[in-house]
């Protein structure tokens, strides 16, 4: 398949179909409704199903049912709808079920707005649902990544039996860019011997369940799940770097913010300020070790986000207070200009006494 021009939301939908997702359950909400619309058009040709649920809560539970029976399934929403799904996400984790959940973020809290945002970072990486849990969180920055990371998400979900979050934003969801779905890769995944799909008289009944009344048993189960989390941290960490090797100031940014920051890095480099960009692709696991490594040489870090500053906490933790960590961002759906970031970098360089040309 050649490169085609697609909206980010459509690229997610097409990539999911490419990954073998047969069941999509959704509920309309801006700015991600194109995913539902695209699925509604395409799924009948694929022998699959796009079902519009009565609520986000129903959609995530339909996903749970489809996943529990051993099929690949997905749901998507935007910030307010994602909050509704949090109950189901916790149950998916408790039941060790694979699932792909897309959040095309908009401004909040409450109904907030419909413009792009990254203000659900805390929710996605720290508290998607109740209980001791983590979720792999993938943050696409381009329409191509909307596709490739969606395919990745299905494999990660199946390999580690966990829900995986695609944390996109309204900008990447709505923009159109060339995308090649054929660039999506698939890995070998284990058979779903645990699925509730009829025992066929061949085995004891399978039970998909998150209730464990014995505290010792629940603790053992959580510990086993955290062993899998350690594996995810070891195997699935992903990030991209731009001009970090000699950088005095390293900008940390993901998604649409990273693209703005790359332009800003180029702009200040032209003025002789040694800036670089570290772009986490996985927000959990977070590239803490990489940030710590860079703290040996970089003089400071700058976290740039479309929020009041959430990832900045993880950057501070990662560099263990060895270097100053500053924040720059806009919120409510306002997108910072590259010039705003460049001005912040210039001010930081001056304060740090960095060499300039």
């Amino acid at each position: 398949m050649a490169k085609v021009l697609m909206k980010g939301n459509e690229a997610i939908a097409e990539a999911a179909i490419e990954a073998g997702c047969k069941y999509y359950f959704g509920y309309p909400i801006t700015p991600q409704t194109e995913i539902s619309e695209y699925m509604a058009k395409r799924m009948p040709d694929e022998g699959g199903l796009c079902l519009q649920a009565e609520s986000e809560i129903a959609a995530i539970n339909m996903l749970l049912g489809a996943s529990a029976s051993g099929t690949r399934a997905m749901t998507s929403s935007s910030s307010p709808g994602i909050s509704l799904k949090s109950e189901g996400v916790s149950y998916l984790v408790g039941c060790d079920l694979p699932a792909v959940i897309v959040n095309v973020q908009r401004g909040g809290p409450g109904l907030g707005g419909i413009q792009p945002s990254q203000a659900d970072y805390y929710q996605a990486t720290k508290a998607y649902g109740h209980g001791d849990m983590h979720l792999p969180v993938l943050a696409p920055s381009t329409v191509q990544e909307m596709a490739t990371l969606t395919c990745e998400a299905f494999d990660i979900a199946d390999i580690y039996r966990t829900p995986v979050i695609i944390l996109a934003d309204g900008a990447v969801g709505q923009m159109m860019e060339p995308v090649n779905i054929a660039e999506c890769r698939s890995r070998e995944v284990p058979p779903k011997t645990w699925a509730a799909c009829g025992h066929g008289g061949r085995r004891r009944h399978n039970i998909i369940n998150s209730l464990l009344m014995d505290p010792e048993e629940l603790e053992r189960t959580v510990l086993a799940r955290f062993e899998r989390y350690r594996e995810i941290e070891k195997n699935e960490l992903a990030f991209a770097e731009y001009m970090v090797d000699d950088a005095d100031i390293i900008v940390v940014a993901f998604g649409i913010a990273a693209r703005i920051c790359r332009t800003a890095v180029d702009a200040v480099r032209a003025k002789g300020i040694k800036a670089g960009l570290l772009r986490p692709i996985t927000l959990w696991p977070f590239p803490s070790s990489r940030i710590l490594f860079h703290s040996e040489t970089a003089k400071a870090f700058l976290s740039v986000e479309l929020s009041m500053g959430q990832m900045v906490t993880d950057v501070k933790l990662a560099c263990e207070c060895r270097r100053p960590v500053e924040f720059f961002g806009r919120t409510g759906g306002v997108i910072p200009e590259p010039g705003d970031v460049a001005a912040k970098l210039t001010a930081m360089a001056k304060e740090l006494g960095c060499e300039t040309r």
């Binding site: 199903l49 809560i57 539970n61 489809a66 529990a68 009829g198 039970i207």
Partner: protein, 252 residues
Amino acid sequence: MSIVFDKPHALTDELMHYCPGCTHGIVHRLVAEVIDELDIEDRTVGIAPVGCAVFAYNYFACDMIEAAHGRAPAVATGVKRANPELVVFTYQGDGDLAAIGTAETVHAATRGENITVIFINNCIYGMTGGQMAPTTLPGQVTTTTPYGRKPKIQGNPIRVCEMLSTLDGVAYAARVSVDTPANVRTAKAAIMRGFRNQLARKGFSIIEVLSTCPTNWGLSPVEALSWLRENMIPYYPLGTYKDIDAAGGGRK
């Protein structure tokens, strides 16, 4: 020597946790007998609720999924849509089905999801210790209606079969009871209809079973059966509320 009475194959050997006199055990057995008689255990998936029947996944020998509170019809939708060849049933209490899960129940019904819903109505929250249910009768004392349910304060009970019988996706809605041997036989026939409808791809079937909760009603098992007859059946009349196979469209 011939065996004249045995445990259904579709029930496991797990010891049930239900209180003495609770009718969950009877209803579990009826569902299991139907699964045995239709020979569908190998391709049946049951969805357990949150409530007293939460551990149903340990008791039924078919594959089981434990859903979040009220979400069983949505989970069942996901299983059935992804696997139309499976037989999918939910087993839910009144709080699960008619309070927190009302939206999931109504929409699965109106979509005509080809599933079978076993609905246990005992007018109370059993597992949490006797609080008001959506089906608690006017005047009924519970721990959260200590002065009796007052419709002006706590609102009115909900009649589920009557409500669902208005929906086009519903193939069969019947209210039965398990308070007498005769009613147990009628209940089994209704449950059998619910599963047969699914095998014939007729759509959504719900069998509401009036049940007892001696522990939380504060009655002996025998007194509880009398209370059911004297108080519940007048408010929740037994009968078939919708049957698309009956003459004249089948609405009561």
